[in-house]
Homo-oligomer: 421 residues x 2
């Protein structure tokens, strides 16, 4: 009988509230199949850990610690922003990966990330084949940007969406209380440089039995100052106040980020202050309304305390499915979420070939944005609503969430040479 092959797991790019739930799914499932898969090694700081042969032996972690990954945000093994270059440009990097994998008897590559890592995953599968050391490469989807194709949604997005919807609802209640004599405008800046998925989630704050005036600025819609100001003014005249959700990626007619039209610091640097203050000050200058603004930044992708239960379940299920696909002998694939119905919401796990996934970006359909460009449609709501369903509170100690920090014990190196990144 051949020696059991080990698995390699790495987290890639910006982390989320639930990427560790996928890690939990991968590791717990692999541990259940010890007859098929050896150890799970994780890359310290993502793929960088593979290149530098800095591997973490997850078998040293207790069952309890691994289980706690399910409710711990961030990347437990470290992540990185390190994009492997194309095969032609830097074949050495891919060869190094395979060399490390070979040294540690790694036959399964689980890569947990967005579009770029799907591409890397595919290349690892291909080059390992040509190098005579075939590795089964499975991509585990993750991105708050929700821009991977084929899968109905991407783990991480739904929790960010829930955080934004809850926050905009709460802040809108606040400004509604104050609008008689004080603040009338609340502006919330959200992530999404290329797509308005997260901004759209702000629209969920207003719903059945809770009508709130929310104006959304999408990166998909060219910013029109006059129309925007008219929309905000109408909302204030009707409701007394208005909440604005603005995507960091909103652009003006000349293709520049709206954020850049704002402040310059003493050195002439632009974009010191984000797009929220630019929008807030624009309203103040034109309409005279007092404002407050917030920038959620990392909070929106790290807020495990208010994660969507649906998101947690899908993140775990996709990690689990990745291992099951590997055991079935699949290669160069990504498990996906397949939506079976909106209401009641039902979903199952499917899979997609990586060549269909890599380098394809899922845009938000124009039909998800209202005709005037400032809101979401019923269709968009039907898509988003089920994703934020359910709460999945972490355990607390001393008033704070009890997030796990792993031991992250290093695997002894087997290669003598150092690899320069």
């Amino acid at each position: 009988m051949a020696k059991l092959r080990n698995a390699f797991y790495a987290q890639s790019g910006g982390v989320t509230a639930v990427i560790n739930a996928s890690a939990c799914g991968v590791i717990e499932t692999a541990r259940k199949h010890k007859d098929k898969i050896g150890k799970v090694f994780a890359g310290r700081n993502g793929i960088v850990g593979a290149l530098t042969e800095d591997l973490i032996d997850t078998s040293k972690e207790s069952k309890k610690a691994i289980a706690a990954l399910r409710h711990t945000p961030s990347g437990a093994f470290g992540s990185c922003r390190y994009k492997l270059k194309g095969l032609e440009e830097n074949r050495a990097e891919y060869e190094r990966l395979i060399e490390v994998f070979k040294a540690h008897n790694i036959g399964y590559f689980f890569y947990n990330g967005g579009g770029d890592s799907a591409d890397t995953c595919l290349k690892v599968s291909q080059i390992s084949e040509t190098m005579g050391y075939p590795i089964q490469a499975i991509h585990v989807p993750k991105t708050v940007d929700n821009d991977l194709p084929i899968t109905d949604c991407c783990p991480g997005f739904a929790s960010a969406a829930k955080y934004i919807a809850v926050s905009v609802r709460e802040a809108s209640f606040d400004v509604a209380s104050m609008c008689k004599t004080s603040t009338r405008i609340f502006v919330m800046e959200v992530m999404g440089r290329h797509a308005g998925w997260i901004a759209a989630a702000g629209g969920l704050a207003s719903g059945e039995g809770c009508d709130l005036p929310i104006v959304i600025l999408f990166p998909e819609i060219v910013f029109n100052r006059d129309k925007f100001l008219a929309k905000v003014d109408a909302a204030v005249k009707k409701h007394g106040y208005c909440s604005v959700v603005v995507s960091e990626g909103v652009k003006t007619e000349d293709g520049k980020f709206l954020a850049e039209s704002g402040a310059k610091d003493a050195f002439g640097h632009t974009q010191l202050g984000g797009v929220a203050p630019v929008v807030a000050n624009m309203i103040k200058d034109a309409l005279g309304y007092r404002f407050h603004w917030a920038v959620a930044d990392y909070l929106q992708r790290a807020a495990r305390h208010i994660a969507s239960r649906t998101d947690v379940e899908q993140a775990y299920a996709l990690g689990k499915a990745a291992v099951e696909l590997a055991i079935k002998g699949e290669n160069a694939v990504m498990p996906t979420v397949v939506r079976k119905s909106d209401s009641p919401y039902r979903w199952k796990i499917g899979s997609a070939a990586l060549k269909e996934v890599a380098n394809v970006e899922k845009k938000m359909p124009r039909g998800f944005i209202s005709r005037d460009g400032f809101g979401i449609t019923a269709k968009c709501r039907a898509y988003l609503q089920p994703l934020i369903m359910g709460e999945d509170y972490p355990p607390y100690k001393d008033g704070l969430p009890r997030y796990v920090r792993l031991e992250n014990v290093a695997v002894a190196k087997k290669l003598s040479d150092e690899f320069k990144l």
Copy 2:
């Protein structure tokens, strides 16, 4: 038997996650004493509602709706930033108040706010006496700034503190994941123009079994650029990353807000972008580290979804106690939280004379800030820790908190003249 006198309740100044819990305590308790107190009328948009005779009849609200105030953030009747002037400057306003109270047979004045409203409350008690229509005026403490004297803490503060502690922990986990190849600095701007209570709460993010490098900039400590940069740099060299919690009120040696030293917009307006981007860019310029920054703004005081259970219980208890004090015949007083012990945390309700409360600001003791000025001491931790204990999740529907919106039915006006604010 004399006709039962009604009560007036109003919310004042910036709202919080739990001010409605105090309203709930006031109304539910008054309803239990129908033999002593008539109806509870609320001021629409705070004291402005009293001046304009725009009263809300809370007896029209269902038991369920009033109960739901306990888990609803913001000011359910509307609040305002409207400070009554001194008696000499504007006696007419006070006389108008008494006139409205008399017209509606109001004998109890419950004012839910911070230092300014404690002062107003005291004046109402005094002037009503001299006008021959004595009103029992009871102040219900509320302020995220935690700056009222005598009471151990102020409702609203603990939930803001919990929000900040949770958020800083989550964002610190995030930046820790990314620091190998990307972001090393996370800056979070928090409220507190005069006192660093909320900033101090950021220090709770790091605790037993969860050591995180957190540098705090307090308004109490004059900003020293070199020392600050050295502190951040040391944290990054040791941990690979650093989280900075900065109070909006931090000032430089010349007495100016640090925020003002940053951006200017096209019109030369300063402070477009808050203090967080100023601090983040300063670190980048001096040390070269990549950063992210967030400004929580209203989110920190509206975040009922992560409210402290201790805070909710105290807010309710203080509202309840206010009514009980009124029934006992007390006047010009404020119920307080009295701490009996830190660990286990035990507290009870006390009361303070308003003349001891009005115009006194509770500062953060210097002994709560570490010697180097960038952290909290064990003493500070012992004070803060119990306040954020416990969770008190609101009910959810469709993935979002189900916050109540009252009917807010107006009481028929009895006075013919209009009052100009």
